[in-house]
């Protein structure tokens, strides 16, 4: 019998997954979505996602080294940021733009705020939002899905030399890969009142961002994470329910002006955003009811932006605004402490004190 005893304070056992295990599960849940994206959009999509992930991981590693700390790449969070960021980009986006946005996502969206656990906004969406503002045309130039040559040639815009503009949409027609402007189902509805069928939206044979088109696989990934207790189901449920309720109300009032609820729920980035972006633990509220309010807020914003805004899609901005109100929701919704007549608990994350 050895006499060397370790002393630790209780509890002496632990349950539940650790941070890196949760991260790897999220990556696993995104594998089918990524696989389908590559299948639907071919080499260009593969290049986009690979560049996004590589940029985010290298950027995280470099920033850790720069600040003199051990690299935290192994926790998997940079891979998720890169993966989600890549999946929200148009498949034929010039790769140099992908790299710039990836650096912004990790550098500005995450490390500027203090790294894992400190970022108020979803880093992947920060990167995408800045790209959207900086390069509005390439960010709304899409590839049609399932083009015959997608596995043999890249889209003409993918390999645009750094700091130069990609070729205009419409070039390359009839030769290799076609890229077109404003051809997503949401844009088709917004500008031409053409509705895409629910079957196409579910299966993802439409144009759109790299990983947002196949609603079925995205939902499957989400259900997998919910089943493993690694995602708060209230957030996607509240978002989808709010979008469905508000859009069916609008459609009921004016069927010609507004699309149906199933079109609204299945099109665009809603499913990917509701399942994988809004549920980022760092940027979402901590309490159950807080998550419901947060989800309803995002859902309402999505409907408002899509139906009444100038843009066809609004999931990204809705989630970023949701992230922004999260601290307020956490201050507002505080569980009543046991044994107190009413809630007197301080709310929200406390402000960090300067290290002295």
């Amino acid at each position: 019998m050895s006499d060397i005893l370790t002393i630790r304070t209780s509890p002496h056992i632990a349950g539940g997954a650790s941070v890196d295990v949760i991260m790897y599960h999220v990556i696993l849940a995104l594998v089918p979505v990524t696989g389908f994206a590559v299948y639907a959009f071919g080499l260009s999509a593969a290049a986009t996602v690979t560049t996004a992930v590589a940029t985010c991981v290298l950027c995280e590693h470099g920033l850790c080294r720069l600040s003199g700390e051990a690299s935290v790449v192994a926790d998997g969070s940079a891979v998720i940021t890169g993966l989600l960021y890549g999946l929200t980009l148009p498949p034929a986006l010039p790769l140099w733009m992908v790299a710039v946005g990836g650096m912004i996502a990790v550098g500005v969206g995450k490390h500027l705020f203090g790294g894992l656990g400190q970022n108020p906004f979803n880093p992947a969406l920060v990167g995408r939002a800045i790209l959207q503002a900086a390069f509005p045309v390439p960010m709304t130039t899409w590839m049609n899905a399932m083009q015959p040559d997608r596995f043999s040639v890249l889209a003409p815009s993918t390999l645009t030399p750094p700091l130069s503009a990609p070729p205009a949409a419409g070039t390359g027609l009839g030769d290799g890969i076609d890229i077109v402007t404003g051809a997503t189902p949401l844009a088709a509805w917004k500008f031409e009142r053409v509705a895409t069928g629910a079957g196409d939206l579910l299966l993802g044979v439409t144009s759109g961002s790299t990983g947002e088109t196949c609603a079925v696989l995205i939902a499957l990934g989400g259900v997998f994470l919910i089943a493993r207790n690694m995602m708060n189901w209230r957030i996607p449920a509240a978002i989808l329910a709010t979008v469905a309720a508000l859009s069916s109300l609008a459609h009921g009032l004016a069927p010609n002006a507004y699309p149906t609820a199933e079109f609204m729920v299945l099109s665009g980035g809603l499913m990917l955003g509701a399942m994988f972006m809004a549920t980022d633990m760092v940027g979402s509220p901590m309490t159950g009811w807080g998550c419901v309010i947060y989800g309803a807020f995002i859902g309402a914003l999505v409907v408002v932006i899509r139906l009444f805004g100038g843009m066809p899609e609004g999931v990204m901005y809705a989630i970023l605004l949701g992230n922004a109100v999260t601290p307020h929701i956490d201050r507002l919704i505080r569980p009543r402490v046991y044994g107190t007549g009413r809630s007197r608990q301080g709310g929200g994350p406390p402000a960090a004190k300067e290290a002295s």
């Binding site: 005893l5 632990a14 539940g16 509220p285 046991y338 107190t340 301080g346 406390p350």
Partner: protein, 446 residues
């Protein structure tokens, strides 16, 4: 009698039970160690005053320390033998405490002497409380709060329901389970004393649904004249915490900073109840208690009646250690305290001696601490609906006063659920203990 209701509290966790190895093993008498170290403070409060001298011979059950004031209880000789020394000995808290070293007589029959009985029918309530103090009875669930203080209802308050706590929600532990199965009559007798001393109307025995045999056994023993019911509660940790069990059974909440009596209830461990029923009719004191010795590092796991003051080293030598032992703790794995030395003796509050090997502790020790990712798991499990995440961030800053003033730090009873689930491996409960100690110290000094 309701046997199959399923009552519970909000939140909580489900740690692995680990009770199968010992739940069916009857209580067995443990041999006496060659030298026992009996601390004079085994309870919350003032140490007992020693009434023996070095080289004095004592008989098993004889008083060796008398209660020093109201917040103190008596101490009795766990063996017939000779007092070797009165001095300092190691304790589980890490501090050296005063105590009596006793060497048993090898040839003694180890019969326990009788004292002045306290009859349940004739004794006054105050006399019963005094008898409980003289019997040295403290909360055997682990807290070791003097039982006579607990059963004395404060002036101006009324307790209508006594809750006998047979939940035993900690993994590994099966002492209360075996006591309920084997000492049912003692429990019933103890309940009679409790009803008399508190003036309560009724008694509820709360038992977790994984001990239905005990619930059945006790239910069958309740005589028709006793206002006592057996209630089965959901298997969930920390169901056995005083506040949680009161809420599960009565639907009432103990006010923040208040006593169970403020909710009209009193919660007492079932083994403590059994000791009252076993000792008071004979005027005896506690000299031993039932302890679950279990864990992956133990060969002969079991529920043993072990003399108070038996050093851990003797227990491990007797049951046999297995593998590379790396941690020994007293109590369950969720709230138990790790021993820094095997010379530490078991005391009245020791419900279990659990031994882990490096196979269990190694992976936990190697884990890296991540920043809080605000996942909210801790908020989901805290039985008091505190915000452990925010408390943890404040403790690191540190802003102890804000933790106590705004986040109800002092309500935390350190059940460990938040640390148990934290995916970032933040030792939340450890931070809270440090913070609470700081607050207490500053309150006392100001």
């Amino acid at each position: 009698m309701r046997l199959f209701t399923r009552k519970s509290f909000a939140h909580g966790v489900h740690p692995p039970e680990c009770k199968d190895a010992t739940r069916n093993l009857p209580i067995r008498q443990f041999p006496f160690a060659p030298l026992l170290s009996v601390p004079l403070v085994q309870h919350l409060g003032k140490p007992a005053r020693p009434v023996v001298t070095e080289d004095q011979e004592v008989v098993r059950g004889q008083l060796i320390g008398e209660a020093d004031g109201w917040m103190s209880v008596a101490m009795h000789a766990p063996v017939s033998g000779v007092v070797k020394r009165i001095g300092l000995m190691p304790s589980i808290t890490g501090q050296m405490v005063p105590g009596v070293f006793l060497a048993p007589f090898a040839a003694s029959t180890q019969e326990v002497i009788e004292g002045t009985p306290c009859a349940v029918d004739s004794a006054e309530p105050s006399a019963i409380a005094r008898a409980i103090q003289q019997a040295g009875i403290v909360g055997l669930g682990g807290a070791a709060f003097p039982t006579h203080v607990k059963v004395t209802v404060p002036e101006g308050k009324r307790v209508d329901t006594i809750i006998v706590n047979g939940v035993e929600c900690e993994p590994y532990l099966t002492t209360d389970h075996r006591v309920m199965l084997e000492q049912g009559d003692d429990v019933i007798t103890g309940i009679r004393y409790l009803l008399k001393v508190t003036g309560a109307d009724r008694v509820m025995i709360g038992i977790e649904a994984n001990k239905r045999d005990a619930a059945k056994a006790l239910g069958d023993r309740v005589p028709p004249d006793l206002p006592c019911t057996v209630e089965v509660v959901e298997v969930k940790y920390p169901q056995g915490a005083e506040k949680m069990l009161i809420t599960a059974l009565l639907g009432r909440e103990v006010p923040s900073g208040g006593l169970p009596a403020d909710a009209g209830a009193m919660c007492i461990n079932v083994a403590t109840t059994a000791e009252i029923g076993r000792l008071l009719p004979h005027g005896r004191g506690i000299q031993e208690r039932v302890i679950t010795v279990s864990g992956p590092g133990v060969k002969k796991k079991g529920n043993y009646r072990i003399a108070i003051g038996t050093p851990l080293r003797f227990i491990l030598d007797t049951v046999g250690a297995e593998g590379d032992i790396s941690r020994v703790f007293m109590g369950g794995p969720m709230m138990g305290q790790a021993a820094s030395s095997l010379d530490i003796p078991v005391v009245k509050g020791t419900s279990g001696v659990i031994v882990l090997t490096s196979r269990e502790t190694g992976p936990l020790a190697k884990r890296r601490e991540y920043p809080c990712i605000r996942c909210g798991y801790c908020v989901d499990v805290c039985p008091l609906s505190l915000n452990p995440s925010a408390l943890g961030l404040l403790a690191k800053n540190p802003q102890y006063e804000q933790m106590a003033a705004e986040f109800h730090l002092m309500d935390c009873f350190e059940c460990g659920s938040c640390s148990f689930v934290c995916p970032s491996h933040i030792p939340l409960v450890h931070h809270f203990r440090v913070s609470k100690a700081w607050i207490r110290k500053h309150k006392a000094s100001s």
